[in-house]
Amino acid sequence: MSDLTFVPGPPRDRAEDAAAPLPHFVSTAPYDPYAVERMTPAQERFYVASQWRMVWWKLRRHRVAVVAGAILLAMYVGITICEFLAPYGVDSRSTDFIYAPPQPVHIFYRGRLVAPYVLGFDYRLDMKRLERIYTPNPKKRQTIRFFCHGDRYEFWNLFPGNLHLACPAHGGQLFLLGTDRLGRDLMSRMIYGARVSLTVGLIGVAVSLTLGIAIGGIAGYYGGWTDILIQRAMEVIQSFPHLPLWMALSAILPVSWSPLLVYFGITLILGMIDWTHLARAVRSKLLALREEDFCTAAVLMGARPVRVIGRHLLPSFTSHLIASATLMIPGMILGETALSFLGLGVRPPMTSWGVLLSDAQNINVVALYPWLLAPVGTVILAVLAFNFFGDGLRDAADPYH
């Protein structure tokens, strides 16, 4: 811009000077044919960005989705180290602290800031009402130890260890969320339960995705009779209420299977129920897309149908698929809680949020030991986080919108 010079025009008194050029600016820079197309660095980045990068940028603008994503990330990282995070082992119980209420953490003592501590309990058994009465005793201050050696565990069932993030003081207790009817710490069981509940969703969705893409892909690509048959089959499955399917399938899981196998069986069951939505979406997209030129070109070049579907057609709406899949995970988490409620979920000694909640499903808990309802909070958090994150993903999935 600095090489613009002002050219004043000639005086315009005489008539023959009327056609002379008006005052104007002239650039003395050399002529650059690509001037129009040159971009600023910012614009250039945008232009050459891949689809995924654009999705990411759009997602970042959706603040709630970002927060939700961060929470989910924290949860999933947490379940890889749950043995370390939990103050107690999953099965550790103390007969002396059955149905103990939560111990809040204090950091002030007489106005001074001190190391975090909890108050120990005075325990009394009321034999008239058959109640266990726990009174926090301000004199029994139990300072929480960090990075300490506590209950033994097997890290991922492979390596023994006993390092914990936080443990109770020696001879003390650390029941941040209280205990249950056998004296087991609820907080620790919730952390271990997260491992099962959160991964059930992932594996179940993986199963659904596979089924949905495969079947929907076949239906959409081939069309005609295959399409009609598959559509009818999907209608049969969809018009079926979930409950009886769950009950029957869970009932045939053999008794002799280990809890781990039962867990995988249950994820399979959950995954097999909901794939029809995905299959429908895949099918309709494929029906539209297979008329496109790039697909015809691939077919003409001799690509087999699997390659055409997998390499050419699918990537164009993978982001949409992922968004749909993310939105299915909360349904699986809730499905797992429903299965546990019906008594068909994971078997002990495995714990999940669903098992914890179905244990809490009676009037005594609601009226007398409400802290046992705490897993509801984590379920709500996980489900909401997945929903918002999935919504954000879906909004961002079509970046050219």
């Binding site: 909640l357 609601v366 929903n387």
Partner: protein, 332 residues
């Protein structure tokens, strides 16, 4: 148009047959049958009085015959309109179901109305004020119902309603009105009790509806004709309601067909917790005890409802939407 209708009706028949086979298989998958389970229970609790009578029933109804024979017997009965006999209730199936259908319909319809009432304002607001704080808060509220496990929410609400409002626990009305004829206090009692199941069941459905309405509305609002209308000075609300909203409602009409069976079965767990005299608990206990005819015939009934419902809503859509009509039914 006519060929489309005939084509769909013809397709329904093999679909229903396939569904009946699936239902029969599912009910008989767990080991044993109603009689073996019931006999095991009786022997476990020491009540051996009527054992002989039960074994007599088992033979009478052919439960010692091979499975495919039992299937044909049941399917044949269905074709005659004979839904079979429920052993758990010791009554014909239609008597057991008939009583409960009315209340189930009442609860379901109230729930659907509640869902629409909550979802619409939130969905519309959410679409027009995308990404604002109030959008997020309202969506959070709408999704809260979906996120909470319904059985726990039902139990907690039951307890709180009893402690704070003195409402009797469970059921759809105070027990003393159960066999009384309809009167104003009975209606009041019904309304006092029905809001808990409606909220618990309905709040799970609001999320999906909010999301769908919002997505559809957003799509519509981007379109050319809306922009034109606004540019030409049409009042914003009118521009919203008169055209885009109607288009966005399209899927709701098409979904009503499959919505009713979903609500009926989705309410099963909550109905069990709250002990409502609806079809949900009846179905669950029939499945648990493998009461073949009750479970099977009722599931057939529900599945047929869905299939017919889908057909009807497809028909309605075809009538409403000229594009579909002209393409002679190629569904996307």
């Amino acid at each position: 148009m006519l060929s489309y209708i005939v084509h769909r009706i013809l397709i329904m028949v093999p679909t229903l047959i396939a569904i009946s086979i699936v239902i029969f298989t599912i009910i008989n998958l767990p080991p044993g049958n109603y009689f073996t389970t019931y006999i095991a229970e009786l022997q476990g609790s020491g009540e051996t009085a009527d054992l002989a009578k039960i074994q007599f029933l088992e033979k009478e109804y052919g439960f010692d015959r091979p499975l495919w024979q039992q299937y044909l017997y049941w399917a044949g009965g269905l074709l005659h309109g004979d839904l079979g006999y429920s052993f758990a209730y010791d009554l014909p199936v239609d008597k057991v179901v008939g009583d409960r259908m009315l209340l189930t319909a009442v609860v379901s319809i109230t729930t659907i109305i509640f869902t629409y009432l909550v979802a619409f304002p939130i969905g519309i607001y959410s679409a027009t004020h995308q990404y604002s704080i109030s959008d997020h808060l309202l969506t959070l509220l709408g999704f809260l119902g979906l996120a909470t496990p319904s059985f726990l929410l039902a139990l907690v609400l039951l307890y709180l309603a009893n402690v704070y409002f003195g409402i009797s626990i469970g059921g759809l009305m105070d027990p003393k009105y159960l066999d009384q004829p309809w009167s104003w206090p009975k209606v009041v009692s019904l309304m006092e009790h029905i809001w808990i199941p409606v909220i618990v069941i309905g709040s799970a459905g609001t999320a999906a509806m909010i999301r769908r309405l919002r997505a559809n509305l957003l799509d519509e609002l981007q379109k050319q004709y809306v922009v034109t209308a606004r540019a030409k000075g049409l009042h914003p609300l009118k521009a919203l309601f008169k055209y885009p909203l109607r288009m966005a409602l399209n899927p709701f009409i098409s979904d009503i067909g499959s919505l009713l069976p979903q609500v009926i079965s989705g309410a099963a767990i909550v109905s069990v917790v709250m002990s409502l005299p609806t079809t949900g608990p009846m179905l669950l206990s029939a499945l648990r005890s493998q009461d073949m005819y009750l479970a099977g015939s009722f599931l057939m009934f529900m599945a047929s409802l869905t299939v017919i419902g889908v057909f009807v809503s497809d028909l309605a859509l075809a009538l409403l939407d000229p594009r579909i009509r002209l393409q002679a039914g190629r569904r996307q």
